[in-house]
């Protein structure tokens, strides 16, 4: 007999070793997330995927599914907290959607729309962050980094390199690049590395590809992030 968990009253199957997120995706249930990508080791840091498991808050992307769990994914409380956490990410960095090439394709923006976020709520940090345009083909705008760690994982797990790392502590956390100068041009990143294309925001961009798709015709201009994410992450959708 297959094992099941219940998400918002709906009973869904799971197999041994799956996380709550894995099971949810397979059952076409969207749990908001930014640092999670099913192709990489779960990280559990953005906390957008916080769900209540038997009454206790857990990160769906790292918490193992076990028989009989009662999970709450959609509630006013969880949605509000997710919105606030997204707002935290917005005020921590410097995100100016209208002037960002990623607008419409940005997962941070997509999640914000999904969560009905209309303002930043919190005071801005106005962090002093740099733009690294040293590389001929790839641009890094640290203003837009949300520390999801996906470029770090992609470089290690798929590209078998170590181009990126997270350094610093607390609010001084920062993305650093593995080269003697600290600049991207001196690293061993290549244009076809997974790490160059994985960024959910506009922090890592490919040069000379900007605005090829006009604003208004981009991913999240056409579909909400829940539908896009499930279509991409649920392998059954083919």
């Amino acid at each position: 007999m297959s094992q099941t968990i219940t998400i918002d009253g709906k009973e869904i199957p799971f197999s041994e070793g799956q996380t709550i997120m894995d099971a949810a995706i397979a059952a076409d249930i969207y749990i908001p997330h930014l640092c999670h990508n099913p192709d990489y080791t779960p990280h559990g840091s953005c906390k957008l995927c916080t769900v209540k498991v038997n009454g206790r808050n857990c990160s769906a992307c790292t918490f193992p599914a076990t028989e009989g769990q009662e999970i709450q994914n959609q509630s006013d409380e969880l949605e509000k907290d997710r919105k606030r956490i997204t707002q935290m990410l917005f005020v921590e960095g410097n995100h100016f959607c209208p002037s960002c090439e990623k607008t419409g394709n940005c997962q941070l923006q997509g999640v914000a729309y999904y969560l009905d976020m209309h303002d930043n709520h919190f005071p801005h940090f106005f962090a002093n962050r740099e733009v690294d345009s040293s590389h001929p083909e790839i641009l890094i705008d640290h203003n837009r980094c949300i520390f999801c760690n996906l470029c770090v994982r992609a470089s290690q797990e798929k590209d078998h390199k170590n181009v990126f790392a997270i350094s610093g502590r607390g609010i001084n956390k920062r993305l650093i690049i593995n080269s003697i100068s600290g600049q991207l041009k001196d690293s061993d990143i290549a244009i076809d590395d997974c790490a160059a294309h994985i960024c959910p925001t506009g922090a890592i961009l490919i040069k000379r590809t900007g605005y090829q798709v006009p604003i208004g015709e981009r991913i999240y201009d056409k579909q909400k992030i829940d539908a896009v994410a499930l279509a991409k992450e649920n392998k059954d959708h083919g």
Partner: protein, 594 residues
């Protein structure tokens, strides 16, 4: 430099698990870890330079840019502040002719703040090149300035500057009669180690770090794991401000602590143990090494301990580098592995996948101390004391406004009033029980009890009298958490920084009615969504005082509906200077007059 670094690498057998030790040694020699040093380490250890940089940037005591040949840090604990630390620090800076937080231009000396150094009963306290300084005052500062200017090596400074006292004022079950070295092991072997585990179970002992997990259960879970390589770790990263009892236990009861670890090893079948000692207790490092050596000579460590065939166990001491988060057990394990102290995702728990992903028991210093004595006396002896849910005694570190600060051991169930009477606290306003991550209680609650089911504490007990300002206390604690957040998860990384901003807005007099509501909402958000105990408790100082003293917050507020979080007029200063204007039109009032 190359030769020195190579010798350090060799000393630690080029093991990346020892990266923290390697970096500590280089820092001690060159006052920082330079880029060439990082490059050399990267190639010799065969790890990315970013791994080294990210570790350096994580720990407060490691630096990529130079600190002074004399690196002086002053403890920023609330108890130090209550002893006029801020004026003393400024005096120190003026005498050394430098700015706090900066290296003096001649490179000789640097002066900065540091989180609580665990000397709350003998502050104001500090550290010089890692070694604890106590009882700082102006004459002592003058003397230190002179020694620095004359470049007298720290080893030659007067020993009384480094005098650290135990200050045990009340000894109970554990402190009054320590066991003889080997006594616990002998009793345990005689009884049978599994029977000793039963005794620990009977004792009802729960973890003394604060979380209170049943010790026997933790040991049993670990021993039942399939994996045969197992570890015992003693958590001596006593970072909770106001806690210093582990420092005393390691100073005067270290044999018994190591004995507890060894008994644990015999039960769970571990070969290797670690004592993770916070960097602030560097002064204890050599004495503890000496005790370990003595225990090896007594056959209490090493091979076939006390002639038990196949029982081989040894203990290594690893030093922390200034990170409160490493008191969290999974962050501590990461740190032991030479990494940044980021708490792991759980499950798996350390008992099944801990150090090097092997089953690991992590317990507090006081827990191991208790187990050694329980091995001698049996479980009932311990269980007879305390309350139904909290057996035995608890060792408190008492500081703040009282006549006799220091160490007190109490049976669980003792009232706060009793504790206050014993330490000579009068005119009390409130008490921070369990440190900043615990609960701030008002004096009207003095009939409450020390117990897991009422007021749980890892040992911190800070007393404040009526002359103290609640918001000053809360501000110190809130800044502490923002400083110590590891930054892994969004709610804690951004949330603790926002808590600091929002609280400062109110304490600086820019708050209005809505700001307290916003503050409370933020507190709940950080508490409910953070990854680990740090974030989950970081809002406690605000929440527990907002509940008890709302009027102290209200008093700070302006009677308008909204106030910007900054000084409008002051923000125009640059513009005025640029425009060379200072007329009335170049000024703004904070709010429009009605």
């Amino acid at each position: 430099m190359q030769t020195f670094i190579q010798s350090v690498i060799d000393k630690y057998a080029a093991s990346t698990v020892r990266l923290l030790d390697i970096l500590r040694d280089i820092q001690a020699e060159y006052q920082h870890i330079s880029s060439p040093a990082i490059e050399l380490l990267s190639s010799q250890l065969n790890i990315p330079r970013t791994q080294i940089i990210s570790v350096i940037e994580f720990y407060s005591f490691l630096h990529a840019s130079p600190t002074g040949k004399y690196d002086i840090l002053i403890s920023d604990s609330i108890t130090d502040l209550m002893l006029d630390k801020e004026n003393l620090l400024n005096y120190f800076a003026s005498q050394l002719k430098l700015t706090v937080g900066e290296l003096r231009s001649d490179g000789l000396v640097s002066l900065n703040n540091t989180s609580c150094t665990g000397m709350c009963d003998q502050g104001p306290a500090g550290l010089v090149n890692g070694y604890a300084l106590t009882h700082l005052d102006r004459p002592r500062v003058d003397a230190i300035v002179k020694l620095v200017e004359q470049q007298v090596p720290v080893a030659e400074w007067p020993s009384e500057f480094f005098q650290v006292d135990d200050n045990i004022h009340q000894a109970g079950l554990l402190l009054q009669a320590p066991i003889q070295a080997g006594e616990g092991l002998k009793a345990s072997f005689k009884r049978g180690v599994q029977k000793t585990l039963q005794e620990i179970d009977i004792s009802g002992l729960r973890g003394r770090g604060g979380a209170g997990f049943k010790t026997a259960m933790k040991w049993r879970f670990c021993s039942e794991e399939q994996e045969t390589e197992r570890y015992v770790v003693c958590n001596a990263d006593e970072g909770e401000p106001g806690t210093f009892k582990d420092r005393v236990l390691l100073n005067s009861y270290a044999h018994q602590v190591f004995e507890g670890m060894t008994i644990c090893a015999s039960i769970i079948n571990a070969q290797q143990g670690f004592l993770y000692l916070r960097g602030e207790y560097l002064h204890l490092y050599q004495p503890l090494l000496d005790i370990l050596e003595e225990r090896r000579k007594l056959n209490l460590l090493g091979k076939n301990i006390l002639d038990q065939q196949h029982f081989n166990f040894d203990i290594e001491i690893r030093l922390g580098c200034g990170a409160y988060i490493c008191g969290e057990e999974s962050a501590l394990i990461e740190s032991l592995e030479g990494k940044r102290g980021i708490p792991r995702n759980r499950p798996p728990y350390p008992v099944s996948q801990g150090y090097l992903n092997k089953p690991t028991v992590v317990n507090n210093v006081e827990t191991f101390l208790a187990t050694a004595k329980i091995a001698v006396e049996g479980g009932q002896w311990f269980a007879d004391i305390g309350t139904e849910q909290s057996k035995g005694t608890k060792i408190l570190s008492i500081s703040g406004d009282c006549a006799k600060s220091g160490i007190y051991e109490y049976p669980f169930g003792t009232s706060i009033a009793q504790v206050l009477e014993d330490c000579g606290a009068t005119d009390v306003l409130g008490i921070q029980v369990g440190g900043p991550s615990g609960t701030f209680i008002d004096i009207s609650e003095d009939q409450r009890k020390l117990a897991f089911e009422d007021l749980a504490t890892g040992g911190s007990f800070i007393i404040f009298n009526q002359s103290r300002n609640i918001l000053d206390i809360v501000k110190n604690f809130t800044h502490f958490f923002a400083h110590e957040s590891c930054g892994f998860c969004t709610p804690c990384r951004v949330g603790t920084a926002l808590l600091k901003k929002q609280l400062d807005k109110i304490t600086d007099g820019h708050g209005s009615a809505g700001d307290v509501v916003a503050l409370e909402e933020l507190c709940q958000l950080v508490k409910n969504n953070s990854h680990c105990g740090l974030g989950q408790t970081a809002a406690n100082p605000i929440l527990s005082t907002l509940e008890r003293y709302p009027e102290h917050y209200q008093k700070q507020l302006k009677a308008i509906s909204y106030e910007p979080g900054f000084d409008l007029d002051a923000s125009l200063e640059t513009a005025r200077r640029l425009a060379n204007r200072d007329d009335a039109g170049a000024h703004l009032s904070q709010v429009e007059e009605d």
